[in-house]
Symmetry: C2
Subunit: 434 residues, 2 copies
């Protein structure tokens, strides 16, 4: 990363809570102590953070458990050489509060928040697992599409100019403007570094060497990613999650919870929707690499492709329904669309709006894919394929589709064009010699 | 206006400064007193505000003069029934400071600012006149295009993501987010009311009755204006002036000063550029109505059309030059466009960016025109044409072009298409019977 923020002095009172200090701290919070039950000495404390940025503890007592997330003043994945402001815990808490209000039941309940310690205690999600792990194992999630489309339609629509008066929207933008260090990570790691020689980039060598070099030299692609970057930076359409991949979702077969909104800010809606579609596409392309017997995962792959299609169609349907019933914002004022003819014309424009949003979604999905294969942060979808050549084949298929989606976005006017192209690439054998 | 802000309690210490109170107040400011010279009792104080919102005084003493602008807690044009926050004086001062830094010499120098009184003292611009008055009189301004294009290119480019790191840009957006009451005026009066039955709308009756009715019923136009409104609300591309018409510009033949940036916020660049082009187009169409002898104002009209063309071409040229030399922002990172091929590709993209900005400009210019003929606030360009039918003819020509520009924006890919269409409409005789 070229332009790290300068090391931030940690505010007075901040300290990293190790095992016993965390136990003491939580023991002094009556509601938490009651939820856990018994004596603090008897609580089990396990650090489980497998994300890139923070400490995450699971604390269990005789009566129940909680999850505790504490921000570190640096990027955990890299270390103290890459400082990152603790204020991200403030924005994560603010976003969680918004999301809980807009999409009840789809985010973990907050039990306690401490600004000074950059610490949030939440309900323990059990027996939920990180969705990405389930996808690697080939598990289908029958609730997922219904839940994630509700989450996205409600959080995005209900924080947009379609639902919220302009003054309130501007206040929201200002409230999240300080989260720029997290936005900067996205701007660098997703929208810049995979397309240049960056020390932190990784890819499956030697197979993808030539592909990575082509991405670094493809000027049309550089223009396309730069347009997407500008859109990311200057389109405060809605309060977006900002990191909505399958590692930010915890699932059972009956429940879906969206976690980790520390990248939240007012940005383009297509960035969230594109993240979901990209991560499902990667799960689809990685599936071949996890197959032990031919066609073993066919049902899973059929489900994933169907999920991709319905993520868009159900999201669009719910977004449109909200627009018809909850349009309390200043955009598209009802008074300009009165009567039957007005209603019909507005309905046509709503469809046009969704079509434009779909184009953004396709572009951002492509960007989210490319960064996971050529950039710093990779996915276990691909990383757990041990045979490197086999992994590279899956990644090359994914990259091939992403490149087309980014360069020729209008050739994907509808989601079935995306899944059709994915299906067509399922058996494609890349030539790694060029 | 449908949704006025609730009456704001005026903050402690605010009072409207009448003649002697203003004299006393200024007399206690050493720098101001020295600039005016002599004793406060001898200063002349003249209220000259002809704008819609504020009090403006010219104060003169034996050594010199100043202009004093004080915000009222309501809209001056309407009265106390339409409250408006005093904080607009804060944002105006903030914008003036930014503009003075980015475009030195093109805004009045601030001599004193008082947040509590919502009052700003500025250099007296003398013998400058409001440009619109000069245009009505048929005066050409040889410095204008050079100055206004410098002002726009520098204030817009240098506050954009092309010039400013994303974190700093987000701070700027947040700093102006509180100016939403002024944005709301624009949202209502420009982007909504002219297209609906609004009590405050006015037009030249009876001649434009049918036209006004058509604008209220044209659903394609309602979609187009709603898209522009959404762009206005959610495209913080740069710190825009927000009210850049020819009544916000003071001129001599050798100097140009941009005043009154109280509508400033981070918005779409095309809104400022479109405002200039719209107001020059209206000056052009109004010119026929001010003619006492045939072709008397031909030289003026030729100048205005040439000014319209060069406002765009010189703005674009200066914007591109800044992009080549001052691209210190996070958008379009240089590292993705290295070498001769990269430079050539980026240069092509810059042209594409300007082409897209021109499309925004055409749309916003249309919106700024329509509101001046069918909405609340009108222009003396047209209002001073005493013969109502003659006035309506000029207005109808202007409306005709604006409607085409809004509905068929892509048919104006370049500025000469706009001036060509204007020229073609110069002799058009509208049929007011339909």
């Amino acid at each position: 990363m070229d332009s790290r923020v300068a090391p931030q002095p940690t505010p007075g009172g901040y300290r990293i809570l190790a095992d016993s200090a965390l136990r003491d701290y939580l023991g002094r919070l009556p509601a938490i102590a009651a939820r856990l039950g018994g004596l603090p000495e008897a609580w089990s404390v396990t650090e489980v953070g497998d994300g890139n940025l923070n400490l995450v503890f699971i604390v269990k007592g005789p009566s129940g458990g909680i999850a505790v997330k504490q921000a570190l003043p640096y990027v955990r994945l890299v270390g103290e050489s890459w400082p990152l402001p603790l204020s991200r815990a403030h924005y994560e808490h603010l976003a969680l509060t918004h999301q809980a209000r807009l999409a009840p039941g789809l985010v973990p309940a907050v039990l306690h928040h401490d600004e000074t310690l950059a610490l949030t205690a939440m309900e323990l999600l059990e027996p939920h697992i990180i969705m990405r792990k389930g996808l690697v194992a080939g598990t289908c999630y029958p609730r997922f599409v219904e839940d994630i489309t509700t989450f996205m339609a409600r959080t995005l629509f209900l924080s947009s100019d379609l639902a919220v008066p302009a003054a309130q929207k501007k206040e929201g933008i200002a409230a999240f403007a300080g989260n720029h260090a997290l936005c900067k990570i996205t701007e660098d790691l997703i929208f810049t570094d995979p397309y240049r020689k960056a020390e932190q980039n990784r890819w499956t060598q030697p197979y993808l060497d030539a592909t990575a070099a082509r991405f670094r030299e493809d000027l049309d692609l550089h223009v396309a990613i730069s347009r997407l970057k500008l859109k990311f930076m200057s389109s405060p359409e809605a309060l977006i999650h900002g990191d909505l991949h399958t590692g930010s979702i915890m699932v059972t077969e009956n429940e879906t919870k969206v976690i980790d909104p520390e990248f939240a800010f007012y940005g383009p809606m297509g960035f969230d929707v594109g993240a979901i579609i990209a991560n499902l596409l990667m799960a689809y392309f990685a599936s071949d690499g996890h197959e032990r017997e031919l066609s073993e995962r066919q049902a899973f792959e059929t489900w994933v492709l169907h999920a991709i299609e319905t993520v868009w169609t159900e999201f669009a349907g719910k977004f449109l329904a909200l627009w018809r019933s909850e349009a309390k914002g200043d955009a598209y004022p009802a008074i300009l669309f009165e009567g039957a003819a007005g209603a019909a014309r507005l309905e046509r424009e709503r469809q046009g709006y969704l079509n434009r949003l779909f184009q953004d979604t396709v572009g951002f999905a492509a960007a989210k894919t490319i960064r996971r294969i050529l950039g710093l942060a990779h996915n276990i979808d691909f990383e757990l394929i041990e045979d490197l050549k086999r992994r590279a084949v899956c990644e090359a298929r994914s990259l091939h589709l992403a490149r087309t989606m980014m360069l020729d976005t209008p050739s994907f006017p509808t989601i079935d064009k995306v899944t059709k192209a994915a299906r067509a690439l399922r058996g494609w054998q890349p030539d790694f010699s060029r």
